[in-house]
């Protein structure tokens, strides 16, 4: 089973751990290797596919750290284009699935 927890945690660590952040900027694949991400999750992070990560349940506020810190090739422009391409509406991101 896959939860999106590991993706959320990467985003959280990006905010809170400057060393992790700079490691990611230098060599994202190496920096992510220690994280228990699924292959899909890792590839989506590396390629900055924030729309897909959102659809998989990653929290958008956490995802926004990726462009805030310019990681995975994301600028605010690219980020916004990718996330806005997602059909909005359902809000089932995050740890707490609505019952």
């Amino acid at each position: 089973m896959m939860t999106i927890y590991a993706v959320n945690k990467v985003c959280y660590r990006i905010l809170r751990e400057p060393a992790f952040r700079s490691d990611l900027a230098v060599d994202p694949i190496a920096a992510l290797s220690s994280e228990p991400l699924s292959e899909i999750e890792r590839d989506l992070l590396i390629t900055g596919e924030v729309g897909r990560l959102y659809e998989l349940g990653a929290h958008p506020f956490l995802l926004s750290h990726l462009s805030r810190f310019g990681l995975f090739g994301l600028t605010d422009l690219v980020y916004s284009e990718r996330i806005r391409a997602v059909g909005s509406g359902t809000e089932n991101h995050t740890g707490g699935l609505p019952s």
Binding site: Y5, L15, H59, P60, F61, S64, L77, S80, H93, L97
Partner: protein, 274 residues
């Protein structure tokens, strides 16, 4: 006995400290915060009880509280790289524990934090309304960002219990309440503006909330503010729960001052009864 002397509601947009530093004291944001600050100073609070939603900066999904009271003796922030000064601020841990104990006795399942830092959602308001950081705080964290959110009525009831806890405080103490948050805001989700990290998907809801607050139509607001409605106003729309908890503390009062920035999806407000 402690006395509740005022309540304020403000936004916490992370860009505001920098904006005001650049534009000076006559810009709209500076003037609005200054008005709130003036009221707050006038009531001379000894402590500021703050309803706030952490932005997954302090708390994370390894242990995400629905409600949590901060009861360290001091805290610091912002811890989320917001461009603003870094501050230390005192926490009234005795009052915090009193409120928590009272709340647990009343059936509120409050987490306790005796060591924590805080993000822009508390630090931006304090930067503007108690810039000398001389008034200790009691932060009460409400999960407003990670669905499922607590129900509006539940947050209002929490506010009522917080009021009773404060009123049962044995010593003299002047307590002001601060609610931090937006009414309509999307960050990082599909409804952000092109080229930005945020957007205001539902200014109509923000206007409607504003009218409810102006008219003290609390029950109507509680009925409208379902989880679904809040999230329709943006993935950060749950921050309204902080205002609702604040209303639970003060009850049905019309604000003495209220001013929106509807294009931002938020407002500035003051409740006084002196």
């Amino acid at each position: 006995m402690a006395e509740i002397v005022a309540a304020i509601g403000v936004p916490h947009t992370p860009g505001f400290p920098e904006l005001v530093a650049r534009l000076g004291p006559n810009c709209e944001v500076a003037r609005l915060f200054a008005e709130v600050e003036r009221h707050l100073a006038a009531v001379q609070p000894d402590v500021l009880v703050i309803f706030d939603s952490d932005h997954l900066s302090t708390f994370f999904y390894n242990n995400l509280p629905t409600f949590c009271i901060g009861a360290a003796d001091q805290t610091a922030g912002p811890n989320d790289h917001t461009k603003m000064p870094h501050y230390n601020i005192g926490v009234n841990s005795a009052l915090a524990k009193k409120i928590r104990g009272y709340g647990i006795g009343a059936g509120f399942d409050l987490s306790l934090s005796e060591e924590f830092e805080i993000d822009h959602s508390i630090m931006v308001p304090l930067h503007f309304v108690t810039p000398r950081m001389n008034i200790p705080i009691v932060p009460i964290f409400i999960n407003g960002l990670s669905p499922p959110l607590p129900a509006a009525r539940r947050c209002f009831d929490l506010g009522e219990v917080v009021r009773r806890a404060i009123e049962s405080w044995p010593g003299n103490m002047r307590v002001a309440i601060l609610a931090s948050g937006s009414f309509s805001l999307e960050i990082g989700g599909p409804r952000i503006s092109h080229g930005k990290r945020s957007g205001v998907p539902d200014p109509g809801w923000a206007s409607s909330v504003l009218k409810r607050l102006e008219k003290a139509e609390v029950n109507e607001l509680l009925n409208e503010a379902t989880n679904d409605r809040l999230l329709k106003a943006g993935n950060i729309g749950g921050e309204l729960l902080n205002w609702i908890a604040m209303l639970g503390v003060i009850g049905r009062h019309r604000p003495r001052f209220i001013e929106p920035q509807i294009d931002h999806g938020h407002a500035y407000a003051v409740w006084r009864w002196d």
